[in-house]
């Protein structure tokens, strides 16, 4: 159920090259929990970029999902204005200033971290210095006395804290990679020309998607199982899907062999294949199940 709020703010969907993305984490969660829209994560995780087992933001939405969200008024579509090939000086200065400030702020932080590290390993460092001095004495003269040693030992404690720590160089500073355009406020504009669905097969697909969504199901792409949609009774992370939805125009002929093919597919994966068609402006469903007779 959508959360009630005093001000209902429409979530932003961003169009890039005809594909629609959600970049905000809270929006992704809200779409899933409140509106039963699952989408597909297609981005690289910033902290684990060299793998594609777990993908991160942005969430890409299927055209059916976008049309539904727009129709129900939950979201608005935004498109970024084309980047000009010339970088203006003002923007360049802002960028370099930002980098410089960040670097300056990092210097004392790095020094602090380094000092902590040194304190943690102070014993090892002191021992190391002693051993080094011993070695030098053995190699050089042999007239030391105990007093001399103890003075030096006391001096070691001071030395630890006085060890000079150099500042990091600019090329060692951490640089922020933005997962959202920092120039957003200057670039986005409302996009009004979302055309899906246009063709008859798309219209059929969307009608089935909408009808099943209104029946409180969760829907994802059915390509893995040779159908149009996979239909879940609850969140796909918690449930297996019940149905493989196959959209067919109401008067399109299927051979009995094709029906057996679909039935077999469903039986092997413990799902029911549903044939969805539009009859008299309503969606008509036929379910196929294996009888279990061998």
């Amino acid at each position: 159920m959508p959360m009630t709020s005093l001000i209902s703010v429409k979530m932003s969907l961003f169009v890039t090259h005809g594909k629609v993305f959600v970049w905000d984490t809270d929006d992704v969660m809200k779409l899933r929990e409140d509106y039963r829209i699952v989408g597909n994560l297609v981005g690289s995780l910033p902290r684990a970029p060299r793998q594609n087992i777990q993908l991160g933001l942005p969430l890409q939405l299927a055209p059916d999902e976008v049309t539904l969200l727009l129709e129900k008024g939950f979201c608005e579509l935004l498109e970024s204005v084309k980047l000009s090939s010339q970088i203006d000086d003002d923007r360049l200065k802002q960028f370099t200033d930002m980098r410089q400030t960040s670097y300056q702020q990092q210097i004392p932080l790095f020094i602090g971290e380094r000092r902590k590290e040194i304190n943690q390993h102070r014993h090892k460092i002191i021992e190391g210095k002693k051993a080094k001095r011993q070695k030098l004495k053995q190699d050089g003269e042999h007239d030391e006395n105990d007093e001399h040693d103890s003075i030096e030992e006391r001096e070691d404690d001071f030395n630890i804290d006085d060890i000079a720590i150099p500042s990091i160089k600019p090329e060692q500073a951490i640089v922020q990679l933005f997962t959202e355009s920092p120039w957003k406020s200057r670039m986005t504009s409302i996009h009004k020309e979302w055309q899906y669905p246009e063709s008859d097969s798309d219209k059929l697909r969307y009608a089935v998607f909408k009808d099943l969504w209104e029946k409180k199901y969760y829907l994802t792409s059915g390509t893995k199982f040779g159908g149009d949609f996979l239909v879940y009774p609850g969140d796909p992370a918690l449930f297996h899907s019940f149905y493989i939805a196959v959209c067919i125009p109401h008067h399109d002929k299927l051979t009995a062999l094709e029906i057996v093919t679909l039935g077999r597919l469903g039986a092997t994966v413990r799902k029911t294949v549903i044939l969805c068609s539009i009859c008299d402006n309503e969606v008509y469903y036929t379910s196929l199940q294996w009888t279990g007779i061998t």
């Binding site: 149905y243 008067h251 051979t255």
Partner: protein, 167 residues
Amino acid sequence: MAVYPELRDHPKYIEAISWCPENEDQVMMAIQVFLDLCEVRGWFDVRTHHCREMNLVFLSGRSTNKSPTELILPTDIYSQISPADMKKYFSAIKLENIETNCLTLAVYNVDSTIVYYKMFSGLVPPENPKISEQKRRDKFENFQRSRNDLSKYIQQFTDERQTHGHS
């Protein structure tokens, strides 16, 4: 027991062909499915029926003595069925005392293998995996139980053979 070398002499065929004389192929298939259900699958109370609306023969029967009656529609692998046709079948093929949204499609192949798939009007969720597991276990247990007496029968057989000799 009467034997019918020609299926066309089988009384059930003769009865069915009188209902739809022009539809010889479908009637022949229907009788083959009838025989399959009766003799091979061991179904109970299998009957042939005439669907006047669509001029074809369909069947009814029960898979076990305690199951509800099901309706079976014989068809061949090349026949073309659209969702609109399915809707027509669901409304035309029915029996007076049976309330069901299920039709079993019996797909008859040229080499006489028959494949059965259930079609339902509307959304019907798959069976709960726990229930299918239970069914499978029950079936296995029944099978085991029927084999309990096997060794006794083998002994009986060998004893009889010995006492009656090899005359």
